[in-house]
Symmetry: C2
Subunit: 464 residues, 2 copies
């Protein structure tokens, strides 16, 4: 009882006390960090989007940022963590950014082979009363956002129903038994989100919140509400100031993208004539017809990445004295490239550029805001000459992969090639990726860094 | 006679007079520019070379340069110069750098469609007594170096025998009749070199100097000597100070590259089993065996790009008061990528890095030297996951193109994919390319520029 009374008195006086103590020794109010990740957004993807969105001679907003660096993406082999792999996935690369460590593909915030939890940015900044927002066009439990708040041995374990021998797709089994709460773990990714302390989480992935939490008769969503989250589910609910913690889940899994190819077309294989059966240089080849990009009807009613970013910024700055870390992901540059959908990737990159505009506008009035834009890994798409450069030879020369011929608003045809494999889904590539920053980053970031060093830049700016 | 006497007297006094006048109004001694071009050296090529040469976590010298920018490569359609093309060749992209203009593929220093001569850097700086050196591992008459001194409607017109209906290869006919001297033109590229005023020209391409010059019984080589060039033909002759103008031609055409694949192997098609004939997902696939990079015996006795660059710098600085422009090209990053020879490209990129070391060492004692490193266009090679990322599915998934699996010195296997066409030679890509600079460029170059703006940066630094 005495304790309780004392506690009440102190609690009431605390703000005044803090102001007083602050007056004696003012702690530097650190700046904010907005990290914008284009998933799979290598220089090819940016050039493809630039050519379509503003024309080859003009610049996207991301192109105009004053500081450019490049990032070495680092990955290790799960079976031999001393050995590098030369191509990353979004789990291990986002883990690099979120923890400063290098791990193996598929891992979220855990070490390769030894499966130890790595301290992530959310855990670190929460110790310093720094607010955290995560915004994505993927599920909020997808690899990139998950790496900032969760620890699990496989990115597929996004909800309590996907923890043990779960078939993610086409026979691909994931298992995170060791991460079950029953086994001393932290549970699935969605369960970890709601105990992470993340202040604002906006994206897709309702499917990962409807299953019952492990050892509970309540869904993860119900537990999120119990934990103080306001849950919203559509663009109308997004508007306005919500106060407190906010969880927005605007689609069952990945949010639909803005654009698709004309009549829903993707890249297609060039078609060869009968004689080509006898020798690759006999007969003729017919390339796919050019197409424009069209509105994807499934996108109707979705909040844009920019509008989610705007709301996140508003929520995070309710208390202007508290700095924040906001991660914004344009996820489907990657996801659409896997599916050979150039228009989908272009529309997603447009969303990223719009979100960057929101961030830059915020930084105009909050000049201590460090804005970083980067990609997690490279991807399949390449721009090829419209027809082959050996066209004059009149031979059936063509990409061995699949091509989308896109008529751009400047009236030319841009050929996008996807040729990393013969399966239903293209592969990532191992190219170094861009890192750009607003003027706040000038002088802080050298011309090339490793991906884990992005973690240090963010941490140092927020905390040190 | 009076004139002659006066002329003699003045001539003798001229150096003293100049010193005197200089004392009255000292003209600013402009700095030097060293432009290093990696042909086809996009970020994929740099990452491939980094992984092999220094390991994925370490940095090449080029990675360590303090300023990074990116370059929009711009090309127009010969038949409709208002229309962009999204993929360049080395002729039109080097013309952008050398003249500040945008032209169509294959053109050297001339406008698309209208075939007008564009003023190039050599012509411009020669008006200001600035010395010029060109160093390349290609023929000195190849598209990249040629764009700095020549004007011709097709890059294939490298010598007097290749001007009219010349079959470059495999039925590819080039014709530069309008550039014949007899038709009021400037003649072939090699003929234009020797009247260009270039002070030092080192590379391959002797074949383009042995034919008789147009309308002459003398070879282009003989005319070069008449024009004051010391001609050297091997690495031994390269050593020492030559004085005057220097032409080094160390091989008949492109200089042999340093490395090739183990036992001369290139990238290869993955092999599928019999059952795969019936459906792409039936049967099994065998990937090419891993290989290391080996010394190419043909390279023996060749001067390195670094040693050529060193000699060029020495020759250009015989008169320390005269600033210079030196272009150094590592040409076969591109040429070896066309042939799907990853080791060849890696060795060439190593040569570029060594030449950069020479340039940086020079700049240490000549701090007004602006060093720029860039590429002219993107290329085919991509780093793929070692085996497909869908390996667990046990399906015959493979690149539809050709792959080289290279065992790196750090003990891992790096898979390089070439899949832009099904012909004997791969294609360029349309990705934006890197531009890097030493500290002299910091503050002078924004985060992204167009390729023609490189011309302005060089011109402004040398002249303005």
């Amino acid at each position: 009882m005495v304790n309780s009374l004392l506690s009440c008195s102190v609690r009431g006086l605390l703000p005044l006390l803090l102001i007083f103590l602050g007056g004696l020794s003012v702690p530097a109010i650190a700046g904010n960090v907005i990290l914008i990740i284009g998933d799979g957004m290598d220089d090819s993807q940016i050039t493809i989007a630039r050519n379509y969105l503003v024309g080859s001679r003009s610049k996207l907003l991301v192109d105009k940022l004053p500081l450019r660096s490049a990032v070495q993406v680092l990955t290790v082999d799960e079976d031999n963590p001393q050995q590098p792999l030369y191509v990353a996935d979004s789990a291990n690369s986002a883990t690099s950014i979120a923890t400063g460590a290098i791990t193996s593909p598929g891992r979220i915030g855990t070490t390769a082979a030894s499966d130890k939890d790595l301290i992530n940015l959310v855990e670190l900044v929460k110790q310093h009363s720094i607010k955290v927002g995560l915004v994505t066009t993927a599920s909020i439990t997808d690899a990139t956002p998950a790496s900032f708040y969760a620890h699990v041995n496989d990115r597929g374990c996004e909800n309590p129903s996907a923890m043990v021998d779960f078939e993610k797709y086409a026979g691909l089994i994931v298992d995170c038994s060791q991460d079950l709460k029953a086994n001393g773990g932290l549970g699935s990714i969605s369960e970890q989100l709601i105990i992470s302390g993340v202040d604002v989480a906006l994206g897709g992935g309702m499917n990962h919140f409807t299953p019952d939490a492990e050892g509970s008769t309540l869904s993860v969503l119900a537990l999120a509400k119990e934990a103080g989250y306001t849950v919203i589910e559509n663009a109308d609910q997004l508007a306005g100031n919500h106060g407190g913690k906010l969880l927005g889940l605007f689609s069952p899994s990945t949010m639909p993208v803005r654009w698709y190819g004309e009549d829903g077309r993707t890249a297609e294989k060039p078609k060869t004539s009968f004689m080509n059966l006898f020798h690759p240089m006999l007969g003729s080849v017919t390339y796919p017809e050019p197409m424009i990009c069209e509105d994807n009807p499934d996108y109707a009613g979705m909040p844009s990445l920019a509008s989610m970013s705007e709301v996140a910024l508003a929520e995070l700055t309710n208390d202007a004295q508290t700095p924040f870390f906001l991660m914004i992901e344009s996820a489907s540059i990657d996801k659409q490239a896997h599916e050979r959908k150039a228009c989908g990737s272009i529309g997603e990159l447009q969303q990223l550029d719009e979100a960057l505009a929101v961030a830059l506008k915020f930084a105009d009035t909050n000049p201590d805001t460090l804005i970083l834009v980067t990609a997690d890994h490279g991807h399949a798409a390449q721009i090829l000459s419209e027809r082959t450069i050996y066209d004059v030879l009149d031979l059936p020369i063509h990409s061995p992969g699949q091509v989308a011929r896109i008529t751009t608003p400047e009236g030319a045809v841009m050929t996008v090639n996807y040729a990393t494999n013969n399966f239903v889904s293209e592969e990532h590539t191992g190219v170094n990726v861009p890192l750009l920053s607003n003027s706040v980053g000038v002088g802080k970031i050298p011309g090339m860094i490793t991906q884990p060093e992005i973690f240090n830049i963010i941490k140092d700016y927020l905390i040190d």
